[in-house]
Point group: C2
Chain length 200, copies 2
């Protein structure tokens, strides 16, 4: 096998391992992750896993980044096809609700936030960075809606981002504890009340 | 000791044990609770603890009820002094934010919700019952605000309860991950935008 083929195989193996690790973390949290458990689930030797992730913490960080990448691919990227402004903001919000629905066994990012929000260290720092980045993407999408004249010019974009975040958290809460359909409807109704109807 | 005194002593011991158990659950979740650990923390024999809580599950249920009672005493009861309508609803909301602030190490009810929302059983059922009761208290307070003419008559009280819940979840999230003061301000601003200013 030449060097390029070996590299490609290594990347593919790492991606497959990350998919397994993502599933473990979704069900059991980042604390449920270990190199040994991942090796068992993936049917690999522990040293094989160790070659890809040098430590348990490296693995946990890689899973967080992997989850954030999936989130971006599923929620943000498709929304970029919608017109800047209200249409795009609503596409982001709907995609985000779908993400919660698809991750009903547990969103690894939210679970990690709850696990580590009170535990200083590198994992908490990465979570803060990811959540900060997401909040700023939301702010950007709200700002574009203001710039498109579809929200009043004195709208506080950070405030709207905070409120949208709360709506998704309430949706996540109610979907898991009560019933998902009424919660989905309440979330969308709240979005439409908060952001108004698009100017067509 | 006569029977009444013995009963009083028993109740006092049970209350003291519940306070210890509450602190353990707040920091480590209901899963962190056991009769043995509680005995150790309270400086009692395990059989002494067992006399008050027949099983680990009984203890977990008692802690949930204890937390709900504290929440009611701290958030709902003081708000009943405010006039029915907007004033009372805002007092409830502000008291709820204070509860989150006071329980920054973890609100045992919310932690339990996250622990058990996906695990069918008696603990999940109790959590569903507590959260359902709280949501109906919120709905009642919103309905009183409508009845007082301080919200439009076509206001959907359950919808407002859902959105208020989301605001507190976002506050809880941001207070633990970012900074508490901006989150408190954003929560209150959102409340005032959602519910309007009181009619004086």
């Amino acid at each position: 096998m030449n060097r390029l083929a070996a590299t490609r195989k290594g990347v593919a193996t790492r991606d497959a391992l990350l998919d397994h690790a993502y599933a473990i973390a979704a069900a059991q949290g980042l604390e449920g992750l270990s190199l040994g458990e991942l090796a068992r689930v993936a049917g690999m030797s522990k040293s094989g896993v160790f070659a890809h992730f040098g430590s348990r913490e490296d693995l946990q960080l890689a899973v967080l980044d992997h989850a954030a990448q999936r989130f971006t691919d599923q929620v943000l990227v498709p929304a970029l096809r919608a017109r800047r402004g209200h249409a795009r903001l609503r596409a982001i919000f709907v995609g985000w609700l779908d993400w919660v629905r698809d991750n009903r066994d547990g969103c690894p990012i939210l679970s990690a936030t709850i696990e580590y929000d009170g535990r200083p260290g590198i994992l908490r720092e990465r979570i803060v960075a990811l959540q900060t980045r997401w909040r700023s993407e939301l702010r950007r999408a709200v700002q574009m809606t203001i710039d498109a004249g579809e929200l009043p010019p004195d709208t506080d974009a950070a405030q709207v981002g905070f409120e949208l975040f709360g709506l998704v958290l309430a949706y996540h809460h109610d979907a898991r504890l009560f019933e998902i359909e009424p919660a989905a409807q309440q979330s969308l109704r709240a979005f439409d009340r908060l952001l108004g109807s698009p100017v067509s």
